[in-house]
Symmetry: C2
Subunit: 139 residues, 2 copies
DNA sequence: CCCTACAATAGACATTGTCTAAGTCAAGTG
DNA sequence: CACTTGACTTAGACAATGTCTATTGTAGGG
């Protein structure tokens, strides 16, 4: 089930205990951990892993395109291993819950040439904000 | 031309030299300054203004709905005084340039009920990423 | 089994943002 | 126009997140 690890291995990534643990911690669906959360979980399996290594490893996975960096709240960046199916995010402004969602249509197509100002656009990030069912009723 | 200041005054906002300077610095089109940039510019007009006041003032303007907080890069938040015309942002990943853009259609309408998972959605933030004309040719 | 280049480490440092206690002031009241 | 009061501002400590460096460790090829 460790797809992420397999993909990384297949790219000639030098494997170490630290990298394996980071990849395992981050693998799965609807995973959107911050670097510190990844570190906290990694430490339970490999107590001597350092923060710097977690940051470096996450950065490399992003560069390789196997993990996506998401800025949902202007605070800590979050890391999403679901890099191979285009999707967007739904965020609860109260408790911070995050869901992957798949809007209809291509958001890129909605931006006419006249509104591109000569930019070469490579991707679009859409964040839907609101309240999750639980927070909406407790509000 | 200080529309922002007028709008704030009209809401019974207690006026001080500091608040006036922050509002003036932030006013205009295609303005997307970080809190520290606002502070740097404010200091040239009012040398004793503190960082805390800039943060407080920006936060209040956001609460009043007269300024929008934008998280374009996972680093510092940016503040956009163009709060009364819905728009999205186009960001250059190399030099950080930001443009306001107006996509066709309503991004909210693209998210079917089955993809809302019971969330009450209040707004959508769309960030188009790419390279600006100048960075695209120098790349 | 040994090299060697690449990876990991601890901890200092940088950036961005928040909080507190004390001083200051805008604006309504008399 | 002085007084008063509650809201505003300040400096600086603190917190959270991220980056960098010099040193030590190790994966994987020969």
């Amino acid at each position: 089930m460790s797809d992420l690890l397999e993909r990384l291995r297949g790219r000639g990534w030098r494997m170490t205990a630290q990298r394996r643990v980071v990849a395992e911690v981050l693998d799965g669906d609807h995973v959107h951990l911050t670097a510190d959360e990844v570190h906290a979980r990694a430490v339970t399996r490999l107590p001597e892993i350092s923060r710097a290594t977690v940051y470096n490893t996450l950065g490399e996975m992003v560069t390789l395109g196997e993990v996506i960096e998401v800025a949902t709240d202007g605070r800590a960046k979050r890391y999403d291993p679901n890099a191979h199916r285009p999707h967007q995010h739904l965020v609860c402004g109260r408790c911070g819950a995050i869901r992957d969602v798949h809007p209809a249509g291509d958001p890129l197509a909605d931006l006419p040439d006249t509104e591109r100002f000569g930019f070469v656009i490579s991707n679009v990030e859409v964040t839907y904000r609101g309240l999750c069912p639980s927070c909406a009723t407790t509000a």
